[in-house]
């Protein structure tokens, strides 16, 4: 019974989130395009399914994954776990945080595979490319990018380097890749940077960044806690272009 109430609460907030989009679509459809929506019944049901699906999805995440994932991020970054022997702060270097990097990469990869907006873009890419790009391969490439990005982003928080050096280096790699990889993949690769970070990834990654920044001596959670999302949006671009390049070279040989 409680579950049902929680479901309707989540559904309500999902509907509120969608309301602006829905009203923009309706206003333009009715006042500017001035045509009835084709297959209106099917589209209506589609919207309904999307809303119900999203509400169930969010509720499930809140119930099962977020509490556990956030707790894990806290425990893995807690001083008792990192430094059980009580070594002096000055002797603690980046290598003490090994499990944090592994967790960052693993959680980055696995949440990206479950990210609904990435599934949407991957399905569309497979359809538009006539099957030349496989939805699942694309998702795996993006997930590998996010895994590397978040692991590297955690390392950055641990060592305390300024974020812009990393991001600018990443941009340079993107520029070089753009000139060498198949033209067809470039827009999709750029897009994949933006779609990776939404419903599933952001809350867990934010918890990880905050946990790290508050445990490590000399870091402020408010300033160093930011930035992981930027890493998670940059590295998929590199990964997707690399994937296209590898497939290109493979088919040529």
């Amino acid at each position: 019974m409680d579950l049902l109430i929680e479901f309707f609460d989540t559904l309500k907030s999902t509907v509120v989130d969608v309301l602006p989009i829905l009203s923009i679509i309706l206003v333009f459809q009715l006042l500017v395009i001035r045509q009835p929506i084709p297959h209106i019944k099917q589209v209506g049901f589609g919207f309904l399914y999307v809303l119900i699906g999203l509400a169930l999805f969010l509720l499930g995440l809140e119930k099962a994954l977020f509490p556990l994932g956030k707790m894990m991020a806290e425990q893995l970054t807690a001083t008792e776990f990192i430094n059980p022997a009580g070594i002096a702060d000055s002797a603690l270097n980046w290598s003490y945080y090994g499990w944090v990097y592994v967790f960052a990469a693993a959680i980055g990869f696995s949440t990206t595979i479950a990210e609904p907006s990435l599934i949407a873009v991957a399905l569309k890419a497979e359809e538009v490319s006539g099957g030349g790009i496989k939805a699942n391969s694309l998702r795996i490439a993006v997930a590998i990018g996010v895994a590397i990005g978040i692991a590297l982003g955690s390392y950055r928080i641990v060592v305390g380097h300024p974020i812009h050096y990393y991001i600018i280096c990443g941009y340079i790699v993107v520029v070089i890749q753009t000139f060498f990889c198949p033209k067809m993949i470039v827009p999709l690769a750029y897009d994949s940077g933006g779609v990776t970070t939404s419903t599933v990834t952001v809350p867990l990654v934010a918890a990880l960044g905050l946990g790290l920044a508050s445990t490590i001596p000399g870091r402020s959670p408010l300033i160093d806690g930011f930035g992981l999302i930027a890493f998670a949006s940059l590295f998929p671009i590199i990964a997707v272009m690399a994937y296209a390049q590898i497939t290109h070279i493979r088919t040529r040989n």
């Binding site: 923009i24 589609g46 499930g60 556990l68 974020i163 939404s198 999302i229």
Partner: protein
């Protein structure tokens, strides 16, 4: 009916596969690394079932509702031939979906706390709210503009790489001049703007436009709208920081 059920179960199975990596990662860290028992197994089990069902419904509805409406509107605008209306629609879609985006509201509030603790703004509720709202509207405007530029690119057939790389150069230059406290937030703001419902809609809009305009390739010209939407917020948020200081 039977066939529908088979399709549904196949989709359900697909969602289970999508979720499997997370379950494995969490189980591994809980048992092998942290060496703790799983708390509230019942809750977790129910939660997982909800997630699987939700993902299945979402993908079902995506193909039935979101993709078709995005494409049919793109085609209707292309037939109508009014660029002004199309660009107005593009701006509204970008601005309207971003301004109410919950993750953006959360990030803006957090950024306001940072700014207050850093002494950039006064540590009162009023000035923090003002700062957070300013940030939100800045990002929403940036996303609206991004979709406008992206749609214009599809219509004109401009190659995407020069625009995006030009944007990167601008980000790098502005990083050198923007105040340090805004940089992390600015870089992150690019990632939080694109929500689960906006992405499929905007993708369908781009692909639909590119396939209904002669001489455009949906693969090369159709994708890329989201890339703009993740780039412009960085530029505008840094500009916001520069104006404030």
């Amino acid at each position: 009916m039977n066939q529908q059920l088979i399709i549904f179960f196949k989709a359900l199975l697909g969602s289970c596969k999508d979720l499997l990596p997370i379950v494995l990662v969490i189980a591994f860290f809980q048992f092998a690394v942290l060496q703790q028992p799983m708390p509230n197994l019942g809750d977790i089990f129910i939660g997982l079932i909800l997630v699987v069902l939700g993902l299945t419904f979402f993908i079902y509805g995506l193909e039935m509702g979101l993709f078709p409406i995005g494409e049919s509107m793109a085609k209707a605008f292309a037939r109508k031939g009014s660029i002004v209306w199309l660009l107005t629609f593009a701006f509204c879609l970008g601005f309207g979906t971003t301004v109410a985006e919950p993750s953006l509201i959360a990030v803006a509030a957090e950024a306001a706390t940072v700014a207050a603790s850093g002494g950039i703004i006064e540590a009162t509720d009023i000035s923090q709210n003002e700062y957070a709202n300013g940030l939100r509207y800045t990002v929403a405007f940036a996303v609206g503009l991004a979709i406008v530029i992206g749609v214009l690119r599809i219509i004109r057939g401009w190659p995407i790489q020069y625009l995006i790389l030009g944007g990167y150069v601008l980000v790098v230059i502005m990083t050198a001049f923007a105040p340090t406290w805004i940089i992390g937030i600015a870089y992150d703001s690019g990632g939080v703007t694109t929500s689960t419902i906006t992405v499929p809609l905007v993708t369908a809009l781009g692909v639909g436009l590119a396939s209904s305009i002669k001489g455009r390739n949906p693969m090369i010209d159709g994708f890329g709208l989201i890339a703009f939407a993740s780039l412009t917020p960085m530029i505008f948020v840094m500009a916001y920081g520069m104006v404030l200081s």
